[in-house]
Symmetry: C2
Subunit: 213 residues, 2 copies
């Protein structure tokens, strides 16, 4: 498999965690979201991903080379492609809670701190940092409330799930936007447990070949 | 099951389509997003859904009353709860494409036309209509490009999937924001096929008990 992504893209980061957790080897192909007006907007990339966003997963299926977009769709694909080890609980209710937590980040927070949204806000002379802080804080409050019911050492029970794969990059982004994480003590605790695991370490933004100081 | 929702909420609408398609009986409980400052912000609702958003699905599982949030998580739940008739293709690649299409709407468009986002933009003196139009048009271009590969009479093949459940409310919203749908002929064709089906008719915003003229 090949993963087209960007070191600091939280959506790419989630997929890296899942690939590592499932021990699926992959080649990482950096797509620079800023340089030269943004490589994701180039024709060659748009052919792979009409949304002009990272990540895109390239995979051989039944003899065809396929390109899959949207991080949540990719996480679901990986779960169906290689069931074990699982990043979704077996219990129907907890599976649903895991997906709910992942979506609180994926559709509830991330779209509002997306690079294209921030750039557009700047063009409109809106304070894009204040904008991001509002949606990140609000989303993390909801995330933590749900987690209080389901958490063990991780967000849902005692093994990593998509909820953690979404949480970890989101906390990194929260710090980038100078959000005070004191009210999110439970989430920071979970983060410190994840930080010990190889699959999270190798997926970290700063560990990527295209990371910038 | 009980579905807490709002007639014009596209996320609620998706879930209504799926419940109808799967012939799962449910009680619809309107949550008025505007009246009285927004019922979704009240304590009683926040207890059910910490994200303070609709929809929320109430369901009895193993003797417990559970409340599920986030429309995509609810669609996945319904698929696992009652497999037939399926709203996801059997083929691994097409399942992934269906989810990708659903996410182009769910995380790529909808968050930017969300009521709370539009209200916040207004408070910042930003033209919220122009804002919505930008993200809706851009998202529909991506959606249609992916659909050109997968469509039969519906977005993916010849039976309704989540891609259609997400597309139909999104086209209704596009018209609300006065978007010219001429460039999206293929999507409007699919819409007209969906419009013939009972599960889509009964799910339509205007057919809900809380619909306003």
């Amino acid at each position: 498999m090949k993963l087209y992504g960007y070191w600091r893209s939280s959506a790419t980061w989630r997929v890296r965690i899942a690939l590592n957790f499932k021990d699926i080897p992959y080649e990482y192909i950096p797509v620079h979201l800023v340089r030269d007006g943004g490589e994701q907007l180039k024709d060659w990339y748009q052919t792979l991903n009409p949304s002009q966003q990272v990540p895109t997963l390239e995979v051989e299926l039944d003899g065809s080379t396929r390109h899959l977009g949207q991080s949540m769709a990719i996480l679901e694909f990986l779960e169906e492609f290689k069931a074990a080890p699982a990043m979704l609980p077996k219990d129907l209710y907890l599976r649903s809670r895991t997906r709910q937590l992942a979506e609180i980040v994926n559709s509830g927070i991330q779209p509002h701190q997306n690079l294209s949204v921030l750039n557009h806000l700047k063009a409109l002379k809106v304070d894009s940092n204040a904008w991001s802080r509002k949606w990140i804080s609000q989303g993390l409050v909801a995330f933590q409330t749900v987690v209080e019911e389901t958490a063990g050492t991780f967000s849902v029970g005692d093994s990593p799930t998509w909820a953690d794969a979404c949480l970890i990059p989101q906390l990194y982004n929260a710090r980038r936007f100078s959000i005070d994480l004191k009210p999110f003590e439970r989430l920071v605790e979970i983060e410190s447990v994840c930080a010990e695991l190889e699959c999270f370490k190798k997926a970290h933004a700063d560990a990527q070949p295209d990371a910038q100081p």
